[in-house]
Amino acid sequence: MNNSVISIKNMNKSYKDKHVLKDLNWEIEKGDIVALLGKNGAGKSTLIESIMNLRNYQSGELTIWGHQWKDLPQDNRDKIGFVAQDIAGFEWMQVHQFLNYLGSFFPNWDKDYCDELRSRWGIDEKQKVGDLSGGQTQILHVIQAMSIRPELLILDEPVAHLDPNMRRQFISELIELCCENETTVIFSSHIISDLERVANKVVLLMDGKIQMNYDIEELKSNIAHLKISSDKPLQQSEYYKQLRNWHAYAGGATAKLVFPMQQSIEEFVNNAPHTIEATPISLEDWYLEVSHESH
């Protein structure tokens, strides 16, 4: 059975002389909770808006549940929730008007669920959209997207304006709800520390391509900070060629393993010609390392 929700093949998108997406290929399967990472200007929003059919791409193929946008049945369309990065608009409406109005575009709108989410995340229904803070406006848009009980939820920087406490709680609850509803989620963010707690896949968009696409648990168990002991400063030999950020010092060298290898870290350490001490590194460190590599 084909579990593919979104399939992108050889997508190309350029703005004047800037080639943003270059022969991009990506497959997202049902139930995936994918964190899309990339530096500013990497093309995350372009990719997300291209998936949402809001931007034209020059070549390539995009299918959602096996259909191109023009053939996508109405039922499927109604099951897609979307929160754009630019959430400006409808400032004159009150929260309940905004939700009622946007709800009128979706036949599967669940008003009770919407009210539940609104009170859960503390958004006053009488408040005007224009008077909400940046973070509250983002939450409101997420509520709107969640209230259709989507099967596919696409969020472009959904928590950028939230404070750290609220962000952690909100994103955990959001993903919990998505898991309950078996929603496939794609979300882009810069706040990597939050992503590693909730996403099951991490995807890195660099140089117009999906450069890395890992299962988060698998990735975390295959990246590490390594301390290689020796009685003299060590130069990077053939065995260590996959390590990055190599620093030799009097007692050996330190380096980082940021690209998962064929063998496990344990095997790598055991087979090494020197004594190696491996300590886990955070996803944030990993991201900084790999994005620096690209730079």
Partner: protein, 436 residues
């Protein structure tokens, strides 16, 4: 001096589109004054209109610069901007002084009247609340009324000059300082300029008014599934408040003028109607990005269903606004007993409505934030079609209402609409959502 020059530059480049329109208007005013032997009222009327627009424009740029905290704490910053502001007004007035010189026998003060009127008009924008926005610009109009009480024309002009000097002093004294709106995002600035150009109100005030109306109309908002009306226009425009604003403006104009000028109502109503339509288009164009939250639910290749719904919503709203406008104008003419050829007026207004409905899908494809050759060209074509048709109608009032002409005109409008609608369909959603 360098700071003043920089201030002049920033005051002038506030909105390139508005500046472009203003420059065209200025050239037109000069051409009319050079080519035609104008009466005092005609020449003065056109120049004063130009300076009212100039005042409003400079008011818009001044308010932007006033929002910086430096305005409050740094006198050099404040003074250089205000000097720049008055220098622009003075130089503009100087350019038109030769055209007013011939009327200096009536009163020498006429020569500096554009400067004074412009300074007052700027407070349509600069006024810190609606009361200030109304009272300050109304001062010269109220002073003109003094002539009805037997005060001499020369004295009235002197009073206006004195009042404008007081106004300038108050501006330097900083009484209209605003800091609360200091943090204005680029999006708000764009919205500000469009909101201001279409309604004369800034984004913040417009949002307040729309919020109040929004509460009143909340029950209707759910009306109709997938109804785009509330997404493509603000309640202010949807419920014809913008139209009422224009009608009130005409009514106010009529109430302070005499019988001779009242005859200008025909020209005025005809001039305002396309402006009303352009206002609706500009507002909608700026709001289109709101549809990105739900555009994916509409079917059809290249978003055809969605685009048709947008046009349907616009057609509906433009027609409602037009009906209210035409109805109120006719009612006003009847109640005030103004002697004017109603047949020609009605035919002209119908021509404007049909042509506007036929051509506006092209305007929806264009950006109204920055001036472009295509935008100027489209506006020129629109104005030329209206001018030619209305001139022909006013010269041949009887022929214009015959069946062959009417059916021919309607067919032409349908053909034009088919073309413009096709252009709109072909426009990508990406470009419609972006208003750069």
């Amino acid at each position: 001096m360098r700071a003043i020059k920089t201030s002049i530059w920033y005051l002038l480049i506030y909105n390139k589109l508005f500046l472009g329109v203003l420059s065209v208007f200025a050239l037109f005013t000069m051409a009319v004054n050079i080519l035609g032997q104008k009466t005092f009222f005609e020449a003065m009327g056109l120049i004063l209109q130009l300076f009212i627009f100039l005042g409003v424009y400079l008011g818009g740029s001044l308010i932007k610069l006033k929002r910086n905290y430096l305005w409050k704490i740094n006198n050099n910053y404040k003074n250089s901007i205000l000097h720049g502001y008055f220098i622009i007004l003075f130089l503009a007035n100087l350019c038109f002084a030769p055209f007013l010189w011939k009327f200096s026998t009536i009163s020498p003060l006429i020569i500096i009247m554009p400067f004074c009127i412009s300074a007052f008009a700027a407070h349509l924008v600069l006024g810190k609340n609606v009361l200030y926005k109304i009272i300050i610009p109304a001062i010269p109009i109220l002073l003109f009324q003094a002539s009805k009480l037997g005060v001499g024309f020369n004295s009235v002009l002197l009073l206006i000059v004195v009042a404008s000097i007081v106004l300038a002093m108050l501006m330097y004294k900083n009484i209209f300082y605003q800091y609360s709106e200091h943090k204005t995002t680029a999006e708000q600035q764009k919205a500000n300029s469009v909101a201001f150009m279409t309604t004369g109100l800034n984004h913040k005030h417009l949002n307040k008014i729309n919020g109040v109306i929004g509460v009143l109309v909340s029950k209707w908002i759910m009306y109709g599934k997938r109804n785009l009306d509330w997404a493509v226009l603000m309640p202010y425009s949807r419920l014809t408040f913008m139209t009422l604003f224009y009608v009130l403006f005409i009514l106010f104009f009529l109430s302070i003028t005499d019988d001779n000028i009242q005859k200008m109502i025909g020209t005025m109503t005809i001039l305002i109607l396309p402006n009303l339509f352009l206002g609706l288009v500009m507002e909608s164009r700026n709001l289109l990005k709101q549809i990105k939250f739900f555009s994916h639910v509409f079917i059809g290749e290249n978003h055809k269903q969605l685009k048709n719904r947008i046009l349907l919503a616009m057609d509906k709203n433009m027609l409602i606004n037009a009906i209210v406008y035409v109805g109120l104008i006719l009612l006003m003419i009847k109640l005030l007993g103004i002697n004017i050829s109603l047949d020609t007026l009605i035919t002209s207004m119908l021509v404007i409505i049909f042509v506007s409905l036929a051509i506006y899908p092209v305007f929806m494809c264009l950006s109204w934030i920055n001036i472009s050759v295509i935008l100027i060209l489209a506006l020129f074509v629109y104005a030329a079609i209206l001018y030619k048709t209305i001139t022909w109608v006013s010269k041949n009032p009887e022929l214009a209402t015959t069946i062959p002409f009417v059916s021919g005109f309607i067919i032409c409008c349908f053909l034009l609409r088919s073309i413009t609608q096709y252009v709109f369909w072909q426009r990508s959603m990406e470009s419609l959502l972006s208003n750069k």
